[in-house]
Symmetry: C2
Subunit: 437 residues, 2 copies
């Protein structure tokens, strides 16, 4: 009998799971709440006007057009009934499944301060990226019109909260916009005088990287003109700016800004807690579901949770299990592993434990600036600066889905590199309101 | 003394006026209420997911970065004080001028039925284009989810109101999306079965063209699968569809549709009536300001009105004055002429009457389909089909501003042509609300 497989989410994990099931005797339904798969590693380029949205987004159903066993559904899953083996959609529709793979991803977390969201948007969706692009570009416009020097300085102050890869990319690129792209275009302000601040609560940026690369990244940021403040915790955000508490005895201070970007906290999709309630599974502090070694939910061998929604471990014979990081290669690998386990189950074979292959870590900072921590079978290789940037560039273009997008992205970048211009400096609607939800 | 010149609007007319003043001893302020110049002839491509927005939009201040006598201001002009020689902005700021060139353009007109706007968006801004793209793509998604055949047929019915160039382009391209782009991607519906209706109140489509080309355009549309209904007047639009009154004795009929595009009426910017009030000038039925032969407002030689906001005539010695059509080449020519007259006035020379050079008319219908009516010094040349389409293609690429955009547009089109795919099938936010207020 044809197995009914439901996959929730068409991010890296869900997409890879469905692709792995190509050719299987299965009726697969991929449910995604937007109409597109998003190449999230480049979303910051859309937010900073370097790329147009279609360059990093492809319609989900287009990606599956040649895979006949997949039906794509634009819908949102509100809950999973693990007893009845059904998912319920927000329009009330109910979908039965024999196997369920949940890859609903993560969203931002404001650590209980959701009121900060209005003043400091995060970066997860295209709508988020458009909103940040709007704020950045309109801040320069407002500064050009402002006569009062103090107010003008506030408009020209940009703050990024969180020193992970997204925060580092955003801060570096904002500095480039101010120093390289905009000068010469304004008559009353000097965009190059803009202040870009990167705030990190922990002791260093890029904490997933070796310490030497964190130091290199901070140095490269500072060379671009970014003010990096580590061990600095944000304790308040409002329309006029934010309040920062440095570690130790240093007094609190205030930064006036109308353009603050949140790159600090990540929380699993609310579906994680719903699944935990329905199955008795545990969740971690970020709301991720603790899964078995084979990525299934304890007691429910027909429900897998993968990607950013899963608190998973990697198993290698003779080694301690290691937690799997929330990065896109891990999501892809989990998608492949979960789908392979579904195929094993369909033919009555036992499932296998997931093993994460760590190829390393890389982060870009700006033009010619990046850090790479490569994991090879022999040893780890660290490098930074221009070679790291070239490596980062080609790795990302390679992984962008579809030849069409790769070519256009390459042209956009080549052109941006030579001209120091940014292609997508367009604000479609001046008022906010484009953000989802 | 340096002359203060204010230009309202950075469409084709305003842009060309400012460029003509390059090198003049003038302090020029270009006021535009969006941050970009829009290549409007290709806006339908953004609405139909063929192009990304940045391919046809460039930041105004970027276009003037090398023209030192221009200051760009992102602002909206609310009124003109022709006695005090000042314009007032929506933020209360007041800007004095010695010469004023108003090129504020046009918007849609619903002929007094503004309540139809919600159900049948028009196509003038990028936000409009995103809204239409959203409705088109989500209609197919809704049809895929709809079990009831009658409701599904409504979702798969697309209606374009107005058989001018925009309506013809929209209808033709919608047919292509349904017949060429989407088939194979849905599992429950056949997108090729979608019904595309083009409604025109007058006796034929493309009424500005010779009759033979109207007939050819209608034939090409029908070949693409568009149902063309001329002499059919829309008398009602609501959430479920629209009510049509054919000419003569034929009874009214209803078309069920959730995706209706308004390409019927154009009205001048409200600034036209405000200027008329302030100066005693006349406006025509569309709200355009009746200008003198030199494009100035009667009695106000330091105020010019150009582009879609002007009801202007073309003067050629020995001929009757002829009305200037509302097309982009005319706007550009008026911009050049008005600026040249400002320069003449600055050196005390008399102004000259405007003469419109008519190079002809062209409209595209779809892949390989277009009509061209070329005006040469010797005779008019009419052609249609593939040669007309190639002509249209190169004419539009040539006129797109900036090498960068031309190249990307060419690649997007070449790729779309060969693959029959459309690049920009992305909906950033599923709810409406992206349209400008």
């Amino acid at each position: 009998m044809t197995a009914r497989i439901v996959i929730v989410g068409a991010g890296f994990g869900g997409l890879e799971a469905a692709r792995t099931l190509r050719g299987a005797d299965a009726a697969i339904t991929v449910i995604e709440k937007t109409n597109h798969h998003l190449f999230q590693p480049l979303l910051y380029q859309v937010a900073t006007a370097g790329l147009a949205a279609p360059a990093i987004a492809a319609p989900v159903r287009h990606l599956f057009r040649h895979q006949d066993n997949v039906t794509t559904l634009l819908a949102e899953v509100t809950d999973v009934d693990a007893t009845a083996n059904e998912v319920r959609l927000s329009d009330g529709q109910v979908l039965p499944y024999d196997h369920l793979i949940v890859a609903a991803g993560a969203t931002h977390s404001y650590f209980g301060r959701d009121d900060w969201a209005r003043f400091a948007p995060g970066l997860k969706t295209l709508a988020d990226a458009f909103e940040i692009r709007r704020r950045v570009l309109l801040a320069f416009e407002a500064a050009e019109k402002e006569a009062d020097p103090a107010k003008r300085a506030s408009w020209l102050t940009f703050v990024v909260i969180g020193g992970g890869p997204t925060g580092v990319e955003m801060a570096g690129t904002l500095a480039e916009i101010a120093r390289d792209t905009l000068p010469g275009e304004f008559r009353r302000i000097d965009p190059a005088a803009a202040r870009i601040v990167l705030l990190e609560g922990g002791p260093r940026v890029l904490q997933a990287m070796p310490e030497s690369l964190s130091a290199s990244a901070q140095g490269q940021l500072e060379k671009l003109g970014v003010e990096v403040r580590v061990a600095a915790r944000v304790v308040g955000i409002d329309e006029q700016g934010l309040e920062v508490q440095p570690a130790g005895d240093a007094p609190r201070f205030r930064i006036g800004s109308h353009c603050v970007v949140w790159a600090a906290g990540v929380a699993a999709s609310p579906l994680g807690r719903q699944i935990a309630l329905a199955t008795g599974a545990q969740t971690d502090r970020a709301g991720r579901v603790l899964v078995e070694p084979d990525l299934t939910v304890p007691g429910y061998p027909n429900i897998s949770v993968i990607g950013d929604l899963a608190a998973a471990s990697s198993y290698l014979a003779g080694h301690e299990p290691r937690p799997v990081p929330g990065v896109s290669p891990a999501a892809k690998q989990m998608g492949r592993a979960a789908a392979a386990n579904v195929l094993r189950r369909l033919r009555g074979a036992p499932s296998q434990a997931f093993r994460y292959r760590d190829y390393g870590n890389l982060a870009t900072i700006g033009r010619n600036s990046a850090v790479v921590d490569l994991s090879t079978p022999w040893r780890r290789i660290e490098f930074s600066g221009w070679p790291a940037w070239i490596f980062w560039l080609f790795a990302h273009i390679y992984f962008l889905i579809g030849f069409r997008n790769r070519l256009v992205v390459l042209i956009d970048w080549a052109s941006a590199y030579w001209s120091r211009q940014r292609y997508a400096r367009v604000v479609a609607a001046l008022d906010p309101g484009m953000r989802e939800g």
